[in-house]
């Protein structure tokens, strides 16, 4: 089964339009929930006023004063309140303050507008510069949500002696995940003789995160909270932490009103209030010898973390751990900081800090090549990590890593050398449209960072079904990435069954163990491996009980399962994650194996820059990657193509425009994601190199494709119309025009 393009388990229902998303689920006696938000970036809440003309007695109104348990969303740092209470500080302009529920959605909306918040304003800060200068102290003693240092060797003496010392500044903007299905949660609250029980269903990536948040909010025992992830229309990290907040809101309304409550954000609310990719700025100082060998690297990496810590500590961690790129370097200093601002907190988004720091280093490498008069291909070739090399944290490359081979393959696929020559000649005549080619070489760490997986100690399992089939038990969720199918393939392979005999159980905390959150490119590799182990145990159990004899037919297997159930009532096997003994990590010194393994890639692209309008057209895109073994080629290709499309949007068009801490372009007419008309054919090549960490040799794939497009595109644009100061994404036509004028002005 592994290596075959099995058809999506849930694909038929989606194609036929039969899939029910959270907003579609029919619920008897349903009330709708809405959120009243602060409209100032910072201040003290002094009062809440309910306007005239609204039948308030029909409404359920929840404020912070109603909260029975802890008014903090369970997270890495529990600093974000579900609701701001009277006398408490409002930290950003989309902060939830009052919750309303009513059966009539139109009346609910009218009521939302009729609530007036009295907030005593405080001075606010909106960008990283102001936060670092501490124009206002808004968070802790230094406005730092998290600070990380990675040190290897000592760069200081190198700057004096190196043949080349080259510095650069780079910036990346916020980006909206733009899942097609907006955030949606359904909550039920029931009280029986044992007390209150809360049930949550919704569009959420991490059922056990929500489970923890609800248990804390109501101070309930774990078995009084049940969370189920329904089918999702995309997530991309945007439904990692924010659903905990919405689920808390919906649960509070359901509990107080006595009715099931559904909260569905419309696109504008979703864009304005929920998480985005962290904006970043990076300063890189690098030293090379006369032959272009990298001697020292000093990286100052900063993220705008918004008003609360949320996921910033771990996004910062991944960003800093990818900041040195795919290069061997004896002396490295990396300083990472996540800075507080009075803006809605950014959060997880495919790539999780890595697209930001990799943009900086991969753009920087091209600029260094320019400054040293070297070919960017050759400069990279001389500095690639290889077997036995150590990375910035001291992690030793233990795989037979061939980055030069990856790069060469991508360049051949693009016909890079011939195009370089041809475009150089053509561009010399200053045509209206100038063409360029560019590329980036990069990686992505698979699974949780550092000791994350060890702390999670995830569990997944298999369960016998009465008809002799098998069900996979895992909390991992299906958000369109194909987890149902891949899990079924992995189990089917290990059981020796056709995929039709393997079901995947709903991601329901009352039924499935905690296999961890559906994030960090970990589902296939980490959870898949657990499923594989549980499947082997499942099969062995049947054999040891004398119910199954190898070789067996699917019918014999089903008969054995039925016999097992007849004998013992139920039959389940589980496997739990254990860190491989050779993997060491120290959280305090940031030394050791940051990830069990990495995926590696080279993306190469051809662009056409229209110098009449400064629009950039992406004419060709080649994505070559090594992701261990590919489990489902069709799904994997789709993952890469989708990620590249998002990466192109990040690099060229998608701009979050902030005004006083608030997103100004919250509609699809003014936040431009690419359409098919904007995208070339995205050509995908997998070079397979099986890795023992994952099932059948698979590594994680989901995030990798996001990391490479932005620097590859800007490198190509620089070839077409440069050298220009192309140090920022999105490189919109407006910015590109400005950069061209800088050069024209001299």
């Amino acid at each position: 089964m592994i290596g075959q393009s099995a058809i999506r388990k849930e694909g038929r229902a989606k194609v036929l339009g039969a899939t029910q998303y959270t907003a579609d689920v029919p619920v008897e006696g349903l009330w709708r929930g809405a959120t009243v938000r602060s409209d100032v970036p910072r201040g003290i809440l002094r009062g809440i006023h309910f306007g005239e003309g609204i039948p308030w007695s029909e409404f359920t109104v929840v404020t912070a004063a109603d909260i029975p348990g802890k008014n903090r969303v369970a997270s890495i740092v529990a600093d974000q309140p579900f609701l701001v209470g009277i006398g408490e500080e409002v930290m950003h302009p989309e902060q939830p303050v009052v919750l309303l529920a009513h059966p009539d959605r139109y009346l609910l909306e009218a009521a939302r507008k009729a609530v007036r918040l009295e907030i005593e304003p405080l001075p606010a800060i909106f960008d990283m510069e102001a936060s670092l200068r501490q124009d206002e102290l808004i968070y802790g003693t230094d406005n730092l949500l998290k600070e990380i240092r990675i040190a290897k060797g000592d760069p200081a003496p190198i700057w004096e002696t190196a043949a080349f010392v080259i510095e650069g500044d780079y910036r990346t903007g916020a980006q909206e995940q733009l899942y097609l299905e907006t955030q949606a949660i359904l909550a039920f609250a029931n009280t029986d003789e044992n007390g209150l029980r809360i049930t949550i269903q919704g569009s959420l990536q991490c059922p056990y995160y929500v489970h923890g948040a609800i248990a804390g909010l109501f101070e309930l025992p774990a078995d009084h909270v049940r969370v189920t992830a329904l089918e999702m229309g995309g997530a991309f990290g945007g439904k990692e932490d924010y659903p905990s907040l919405i689920a808390g809101h919906a649960a509070l309304l359901a509990w107080k009103s006595g009715h099931p409550v559904r909260i569905v954000y419309d696109r504008e609310e979703d864009m304005a209030a929920t998480t985005k990719r962290h904006p970043s700025r990076t300063h890189i100082k690098s030293a090379f010898d006369a032959n272009g060998h990298l001697l020292a690297l000093d990286v100052d990496f900063q993220l705008d973390g918004g008003a609360y810590a949320t996921m910033s500590p771990v996004v910062l961690s991944r960003g800093t751990l990818h900041a040195a790129g795919v290069y061997r370097c004896p002396h490295v200093a990396i300083h990472g900081r996540a800075l507080a601002t009075n803006t809605p907190p950014p959060g997880a988004f495919r790539g999780f800090g890595a697209p930001q720091s990799l943009f900086a280093i991969e753009r920087h490498m091209d600029i260094c090549a320019q400054r040293m008069g070297m070919d960017p291909v050759e400069l990279r070739r001389r500095n690639f990590l290889r077997l036995g090399d150590s990375m910035a944290t001291g992690q030793v490359i233990r795989e037979d890593l061939d980055l030069a081979g990856l790069m060469d393959r991508a360049l051949v696929e693009l016909d890079y050398d011939a195009k370089r020559k041809r475009f150089q000649t053509e561009n010399a005549a200053s045509p209206e449209v100038c063409r360029g080619v560019g590329f980036a070489v990069f990686m992505h760490g698979c699974g949780f960072t550092g000791s994350g997986e060890a702390k999670l100690a995830s569990v997944a399992g298999l369960e016998a079904l009465p008809d002799g089939r098998v069900s996979v038990l895992a909390a991992s969720t299906e958000m369109g990435q194909g987890k149902h199918t891949v899990f079924a393939q992995v189990a089917a392979e290990a059981l020796g069954l056709p995929i039709e005999l393997v079901e995947v159980a709903p991601s329901d905390t009352s039924r499935v163990p905690n296999s961890g959150p559906t994030v960090a490119s970990r589902s296939t590799m980490v959870v898949g491996k657990l499923i594989q182990d549980a499947a082997v145990a499942f099969r062995q159990g049947l054999i040891q009980q004398g119910l199954l004899h190898e070789p067996f037919t699917p019918e014999a297997f089903q008969a054995a399962v039925r016999a097992m159930l007849a004998r013992s009532g139920s039959y389940k096997t589980y496997a739990q994650y254990h860190t491989p003994p050779q993997q060491k990590w120290d959280d305090t010194s940031y030394q050791g194996d940051a990830y069990p393994t990495f995926t590696w890639a080279c993306y190469a692209t051809q662009v056409a820059v229209d110098t009449v309008t400064w629009e950039v057209a992406v004419e060709d895109f080649v994505a070559v990657q090594e992701v261990g073994r590919v489990i489902n080629p069709t799904l994997a290709t789709g993952q890469v193509q989708g990620g590249v499309a998002q990466g192109i949007g990040f690099g060229l068009w998608e701009e979050v425009r902030m005004h006083n801490g608030r997103m100004a372009n919250t509609q699809l007419t003014n936040y431009a994601i690419p359409t098919l008309a904007d995208l070339p054919e995205i050509r995908v090549v997998f070079l397979e190199n099986p890795h023992p960490a994952g099932p059948g040799g698979a590594k994680g794939l989901g995030e990798l494709p996001m990391n490479g497009p932005a620097p590859a595109l800007l490198n190509a644009v620089d070839f077409a119309v440069g050298p220009l100061r192309l140090d920022e994404v999105p490189m919109t036509p407006e910015r590109l025009l400005d950069r061209a004028e800088e050069v024209a002005r001299g």
Binding site: E109, A672, A677, D678
Partner: protein, 288 residues
């Protein structure tokens, strides 16, 4: 949806005369394709609550062709424009701009009259209608009048349209002789985008010189505008030696671009001039 649907009232007049009476009695605002109104409603920003559904009025439908001009009903959808051979034959800029308007679903509902009377400075077809020298037929209970389209827009959402008047038909004269048609829209992306700016140019070539040149501009002024200053510089000039630099300078007087959510005043100013330069290169090439 942030609008309050229970407060909305949509009436459907049975005839043009009934529609005009209702309009005169301030019974509601005309609602044709609704492609812009529904977006504003969805955002909770639609002030009016009463509307007249004029989408089925027969007098405002259909495309009639005469030897001199095309007479387009105000309710012509972009899809209908795109399906008509005479539009393709005589008005290639209208084809381009209709194709560049919204998504297919929008093209199926959105109407030419709505595109005009909605008066968005960023609408795609108005610069083309300006460059083709279109005229509008306006009807009220007081009678019918015809106004040149170039005089219709008078400021941001300000039109030569009385409260009791409807835009009923749009007449576009067919260009004669050797004509050059140029239209380019610069949006945030290649499809389903609202214009950052657009430029339409139509000219005839007579004895190697520019004749009947008209330029329409989108999204660089409070309303779609004609580039009269640039036109004046170019009118009658020999194709072999067009005063391009002077025309580009003159174009500055024709626009008043702003910074907004979609682009910057600077970008709009530079790129509109770049488009005119490109259009003039096309024009010169055609003459040779």
């Amino acid at each position: 949806m942030r609008g309050f649907l229970p407060a909305m009232e949509l009436q459907r007049p049975a005839s043009l005369s009934e529609a005009l009476q209702m309009l005169a009695a301030h019974t509601g605002r005309p609602f044709a394709g609704g492609t812009d109104l529904m977006v504003v409603y969805n955002a909770g920003k639609l002030r009016e609550t009463r509307f007249l559904d004029i989408a089925r009025l027969p007098e405002l439908q259909g495309i009639r062709e005469t030897p001199e001009y095309l007479d387009l009903g105000a309710l012509c959808t972009f899809t209908e424009l795109l399906a008509h051979p005479a539009i393709h034959r005589h008005f290639p800029n209208l084809v381009k701009s209709a194709k560049a308007t919204g998504a297919l679903a929008i093209q199926n509902r959105g109407t030419l009259g709505g595109n005009i009377a909605n008066a968005s400075p960023a609408a795609d077809t108005p610069p083309c209608l300006l460059a083709y020298g279109a005229e509008l037929e306006l009807v009220s209970p007081r009678g019918t009048r015809v106004v040149p389209y170039e005089l219709f827009h008078q400021g941001y959402k300000v039109m030569d349209l009385a409260a009791d008047e409807l835009v009923t038909r749009i007449r576009v004269p067919k260009p004669s002789g050797t004509s050059v048609h140029y239209f380019r829209k610069v949006g945030t992306r290649q499809a389903q985008a609202i214009a950052k700016l657009s430029l339409a140019l139509v000219a005839q070539v007579a004895d190697g010189c520019v004749a009947n040149l008209r330029i329409g501009l989108g999204a660089v002024a409070p309303a779609p505008v004609r580039a009269c200053h640039a036109e004046a510089v170019l009118q009658g000039q020999p194709l072999a030696n067009l005063p391009v630099a002077v025309a580009l300078e003159a174009l500055l007087a024709d626009m008043s671009p702003i910074d907004d959510i979609r682009s910057t005043a600077h970008y709009r100013s530079i790129v509109t001039r770049n488009l005119l330069a490109q259009a003039l290169r096309t024009l010169s090439a055609t003459g040779n």
